[in-house]
């Protein structure tokens, strides 16, 4: 907690001006640092920018980038573009929700995987596209996805 607080202090120092238009960059810095926006973070951001916390929360829930619970060790982003849709991203999504037993935006109970359906990133050349942290997989089918998840699970133990 102490380290979290001091990281929070560092982040707030980067935004010395008390202006409303610093809210999104500040939230982004917190999201990048901690992986999610906590209640304490909301309270500190609100107090730093002299904004009601309801506004901070209201803004954070509007955008895709911010989450309120920690992401998994392996964060799976599934592209939801039109070409990927035609390429079978729907089947991949069903498979992933079945394998991991979580829904879009959730994290597995063991904290290993989290799932997010992302807006089209425009890599429409080889659909469907999936990313696990910074590693991309393109043109994968249901069977490959099963193997990939299995591999990641084995690597984690």
């Amino acid at each position: 907690m102490a380290t979290e607080n001091s990281s929070m202090d560092e982040i707030l120092k980067r935004f010395p001006q008390i202006k409303r238009n610093a809210l999104i960059p500040l939230l982004q810095a917190v999201q990048d640092e901690f992986g999610y926006i906590s209640e304490e973070a909301i309270a500190r951001i609100g107090s730093h920018l002299s904004l009601p916390t309801s506004k901070v929360y209201g803004l954070a829930t509007f955008y895709n980038q911010f989450s309120f619970s920690p992401r998994g060790v392996y964060h799976i982003s599934l592209c939801n573009g039109s070409a990927c849709h035609l390429g079978g991203s729907g089947d991949l999504f069903s498979e992933l929700t079945k394998l991991l037993e979580i829904r879009d935006g959730e994290t597995t109970r063991d904290g290993l995987f989290s799932l997010e359906v992302q807006s089209c990133i425009g890599a429409c050349g080889q659909p469907p596209v999936m990313a696990i942290n910074d590693t991309y997989f393109s043109g994968v089918g249901v069977k490959e996805v099963r193997d990939i998840i299995k591999q990641y699970r084995e690597d984690a133990t």
Binding site: P52, S54, F68
Partner: protein, 574 residues
Amino acid sequence: MGIRLEVNGRAIEAVKGETVLTALNRNGMHVPTICNLKDLSPSGACRMCVVEVKGLETLVPACSFPIEEPMTILTHSPRVLRARKTNVELLLSNHPDDCLYCERSGSCELQSLSEDLNIRERRIPGKKSPHKMDKSSPAIVRDPAKCILCGRCVRICEEIMSTSCLDFAHRGNELCISTTLSKPLNFSNCTSCGQCLISCPTGALIEHVQFPELDAHIHEPEKIVVAQFTPAVAVSVAEQLGYKPGTNLSGIITAVLRRYGFDHVLETSFGAEMMMMEQVEIYKKRAAEGNGLLLMTSSCPSWVQFVEQSYPELIPILSTLKSPQQILGALIKEWYPKQPGNENKEIVSVVITSCTAAKTEARRVEMSKSGIPVIDLVLTTRELARLIKLSGLDLDRLEPEQPDAPFYSPGSAGKLCGVAGGEIEATVRTLYSNLTGRELPPAKLHRFRIHKSFREMVIEVGDREVIMGTVSGLSNAVALLKEIKNGKRKVDLLEVMACPDGCVNGGGQPLPVDEKVLRNRSKAVYDLDNGSKLHTAHQSPSIQKIYNEVLGEPGGEKSQELLFTTFKKREVLL
């Protein structure tokens, strides 16, 4: 600069730069609105006010479309009506079907819109969004299922009340009105003022209805049920009973309540007059020790909670008195048990008020004795109207009755507390007399009656000038305090009312409310005072009697025990 518009075939004059809606309203032409709030910038969200403008491809919202050149407008063409009807039907497709059981049935704006647009069937089927009611707050119940997302509550809470405990959250069809992190309302910085409730067009925000709980008490022989009602209630409940707004029903209410089964009926104005007596002593003590802003009133529970949460550094400047209803409540629980025949009886104390914050106030630890709340039940004006209708009594056949002794003051000082500026006006009468020995003619203080959010007067007391002020609406109060802090303004004694225009505009008042209704209510209160023969608290024989027989002196030990309270900083997510 004048611009000519042709609206529905009629020529009207408009001012360049103003919105179409302003021009229409000024000329007596109306279009329905939901999200529009008077005096606040237009949102353009609900699309109810759309009108057809010749030459423009789509319909335009009248509330936010500026007039730059002559236009031909149709406000009720078939195209416009079809659009309005479909949009309301879309709202209804995601709205619960329980008009019959809804608290707002009869005063719901969605209901009247549907009727006006002749919606007679559920044409658009579909799944409704799942929502949970929030019943955590003692004062206000949120039912997001009925919320039509007009955003009025958000804007009022932010711009008029500087509290901002609610905001829009999420997006698209997950859009909802929420507190920070969707916490229950009683965990947020809500002060229960109820202004959101007053502005809500549907039953998404209602008070925590408590009057069914009366049944457990009202006809019990072992219980003595004592009611007190506030002056704002007296001049407002008439609206829900078929009378003209501003009809004063004080004596009739007393009669009704007695017949309903209350053992004793009192008026909160008595407690207000006690408060004024004590307030004067507090002020005198502080004036002897310091200067600057010495005293801010603590009679408004919403204001007090606001200070405790958001400006705890100002707590030392707050008065240390309870609110009028709590003062009277304390006296009730002190006096009635000691009366002959009441030895083994339970005293149940009920407040009927225009104030929703009073419901939260009654649950404060400081407002209980040995763990039991001093006030057992708080009912709003609206709940009183229900009660009266339930009783079946014909009000026209009742004669006005007086409240019970000894807590009945025939004067009007306490009654002035119903409006913003009234408490300080009446307090100053006693303060002046106390400090100078002379009586101030009431008309001299009518500066507190001008219709502005901040009113002030300078009173010369001996060789001192005392600046009295009154402000209503929390945002106005915040702005004023900032000016005082920056030295731009000087006030010595300040009355603060959370609700704009004071208790007549409280969260528990009859709906709908508009400027005309508020003016009538305020006027009724002023008429009471103008027509009274006794204008001060200190000259009231019953007030003097209470001090002589029960309390001793203002500020004395007994007063401290019963009528005083403490405030402290409260940690909430602001």
